[in-house]
């Protein structure tokens, strides 16, 4: 938004209050809860900090829908990697039992923009889309990348950098659900496997796995 400081914080609060029960809260990033939530402070009003944790707990229950945009907000992702030193929680876990509707998880690193915008439009125009067991819209996350991959059936390569199928060099395509082979990225220009590198499973609940691609 254009406003900064107190004006921005007031706008946030007024919007949520005025449209209570009608707005969509989109959360990007996992929610750090360590150090009293002070690993992420989104602003302050009259000298009082508002941590991301407090903001999510305040505005999540006021929203009609909450959308976790990206793998961090959906499943923890890079934010919660390693020892999860900052005590990150997913949007759905911190808001468990507190929201009007289930938190919609849109994993991906980053979230695919068409998936995000289309989900928001669906929520506004139609209502809650059909969600799978991980609360992801089945429409976008119902198919494994491998099953739609144009490289399926091509030569299975033994090392990186060659054209072919990457399932023997650690490709996560067989175990990852996302829209990449059909929608591709950046207005259909390209996608990860298309530029000759295996999928690293960025939309998976266990992203980032260690190692990303196990050969």
């Amino acid at each position: 938004m254009t406003a900064s400081g107190d004006l921005a914080m007031q706008t946030l609060d007024q919007s949520a209050t005025q449209y209570k029960g009608q707005f969509i809260l989109v959360i990007e990033g996992a929610v750090p809860t360590g150090a009293n939530g002070n690993y992420c402070v989104i602003g302050e009003v009259d000298g009082t900090h508002l941590t991301m944790e407090q903001a999510v707990l305040k505005y999540g229950p006021m929203a009609k829908y909450v959308v976790a945009a990206g793998t961090c907000a959906s499943f923890g992702g890079v934010s919660a990697a390693g020892t999860n030193a900052t005590g990150c929680l997913t949007a759905s876990s911190i808001l468990s039992g507190k929201t009007v509707n289930p938190v919609v998880n849109l994993p991906g690193c980053p979230i695919h923009p068409t998936v995000l915008i289309q989900t928001l439009l669906d929520l506004i125009l139609i209502g809650m889309p059909s969600l799978d067991r991980s609360n992801r819209p089945s429409n976008y996350f119902g198919t494994k990348i491998h099953s739609m991959c144009p490289r399926k059936g091509t030569t299975v390569v033994k090392q990186l950098g060659q054209y072919g199928c990457y399932k023997n060099v650690g490709c996560k395509g067989p175990g990852t659900q996302n829209v990449c082979p059909s929608m591709k990225w950046n207005n259909g220009q390209a996608w990860c496997i298309g530029v000759n590198y295996p999928c690293i499973g960025c939309a998976n609940p266990d992203f980032p796995a260690n190692p990303l691609c196990k050969v």
Binding site: S4, L7, S15, C40, N187
Partner: protein, 472 residues
């Protein structure tokens, strides 16, 4: 004496707070810049294979991920004693160049311009400050029209970069050993078409608008200088011997000098860390400690030979000589435009050198042990990754970002950071609308992390508006 706190400063990447003290004449006498997000990247990488770092460090920032991938790849390559071939360097240049152009255009139009132009009268352009808008209605409308056009251009710059990088943000194939894309003739034609469109925008629209801003707000050539010391780690290799379009270097009290990374030390006296202060990144550690006495930020204070240096377009263009007017709010905008044009022009040259159908990637093994440093420039400035490996796993990873240089806090010697210095001495006309402070902060193009977004129903219209039909 009074205080102004801006928390958050919006229209930048991440979480930045600025707090200033004013004297009785409303002149800033003290300033503190606070980074309000900590994610523990450096520690999270420990125990992982070095190749993974080229993917994971990109997630530090969605606006400059390519520079992180390149630094990470270079650090591992150095540890392995490997230099990629020219074809790999050209592809990295083209992907990174696309990222630079996208970021710089986004910065001028979407992040900075709203400090000077009245936006459309709807959320999220309202509410906002209404202080000191000088453009007439015709010029304002033209600038807003170009703001919209810029959204398309920066999207196209990312589409262009994705041709070779797979996707933006967070490219899929910039790793130790090179770039795995095998360019086709179609790829090159496609890339060139985008580059031509984007270059035309830079040379006509962006050129007109940045000059219009500079002439209408020419007093901002004397606002927000900071120290004037500049630093660059160098970027865009033009051969395999280390020659760069923008060479590394420093500018100290107006004198151009060399750059040696061993002269970098990071201090945490006023930062939320209990790890030792005053180390070079090669031997540094990071232990968070929120609430430490005297500390006010998650940013460490990088210093070069003990002094605070500013990174960014102004540093790069000063060292090449393409921009040497002075350092100020307006100089930063002009320098950023100047390099955006220069990068676009040089991308044509690099594109012409790309060989069709060539697989130039080397499947590099993971070094069992050793250390390496990857240095490059992100759009916002000097970026470095320091890596140590043992038993084929990362044992140490330290990153110094450009915003760490620019939005640095006070160091252990009491020296404030460049942005803080730039704020000091500024006269604020209207303390309830301190637009001068926003203009200074935004001129640095700061970047820090992830955030919570709230969209009101009016915001939804904005989303529909941005989702243009395919091909626009």
């Amino acid at each position: 004496m009074s205080t102004i706190v801006l928390d958050p400063i919006t229209r930048l990447e991440g979480h930045l707070k600025v707090s200033v003290t004013l004297d009785a004449n409303n002149i800033v006498t003290a300033a503190q810049a606070t980074g309000n997000l900590y994610r523990d990247f450096e520690n999270m990488l420990i125990g992982r294979g070095p190749k993974d770092a080229a993917f994971l460090t990109q997630r530090i920032c969605g606006v400059c991920p390519v520079s992180h991938a390149i630094d990470s790849a270079k650090a591992t390559e150095q540890a392995a004693g490997f230099t990629p071939s020219l074809q790999n360097l050209l592809l990295r240049n083209l992907i990174q160049g696309a990222n630079f152009i996208s970021s710089n255009v986004l910065h001028f139009y979407q992040l900075a311009l709203m400090d000077y132009v009245q936006g459309p009268q709807m959320h999220p352009w309202t509410p906002g400050y209404t202080q000191d808008f000088r453009f007439n209605a015709t010029d304002s409308q033209a600038l807003i029209n170009n703001y919209v056009a810029a959204l398309s251009i920066r999207r196209q710059a990312h589409e262009m970069g994705a041709i070779f990088g797979g996707k933006l943000p967070h490219v899929g194939n910039v790793v130790p050993g090179g770039v795995t894309a095998i360019p086709s003739a179609t790829d090159i034609t496609n890339f060139r078409n985008y580059l031509n469109t984007i270059t035309s925008f830079i040379q006509t629209t962006y050129a007109t608008d940045v000059n219009k801003l500079a002439s209408t707000y020419s007093d901002y050539y004397t606002v927000g200088k900071g120290y004037g010391n500049l630093i660059s780690f160098g970027v865009f290799d033009t051969n395999t011997s280390g020659n760069k379009l923008y060479p590394a270097g420093t500018v100290t009290n107006g004198t151009i000098g060399s750059f040696t990374q061993t002269n970098i030390k990071e201090y945490v006296g006023h930062s939320w860390y209990s790890s030792p202060s005053g180390s070079n990144p090669a031997s540094e550690t990071t232990t968070p400690s929120f609430g430490k006495a005297g500390a006010y930020t998650w940013l460490k204070a990088p210093r070069y030979n003990g002094a605070a240096y500013e990174a960014g377009s102004i540093a790069r263009t000063w060292l090449t000589g393409e921009y040497r007017r002075d350092v100020s709010v307006m100089d930063r905008h002009l320098a950023r435009f100047t390099e955006t044009n220069n990068i676009a022009v040089n991308m044509q040259t690099w594109l012409n050198q790309v060989v069709v159908g060539q697989n130039q990637f080397t499947n590099l093994g993971t070094p069992a042990s050793g250390s390496g440093i990857g240095l490059t420039e992100a759009p916002r400035g000097a970026l470095g990754h320091w890596l140590s490996v043992a038993s084929s796993k990362i044992t140490k990873y330290q990153i110094v970002t450009p915003t760490c240089w620019n939005a640095s806090p006070m160091d252990d010697a009491g020296i404030v950071g460049p942005m803080e210095k730039a704020l000091i001495g500024t006269h604020v006309e209207n303390t309830s609308q301190p637009v001068e402070l926003l203009r200074i902060v935004h001129s640095f193009d700061p970047c820090t992390g992830c955030s919570v977004h709230v969209m009101s129903p009016e915001g939804m219209e904005m989303s529909n508006f941005v989702v243009q039909p395919q091909g626009v």
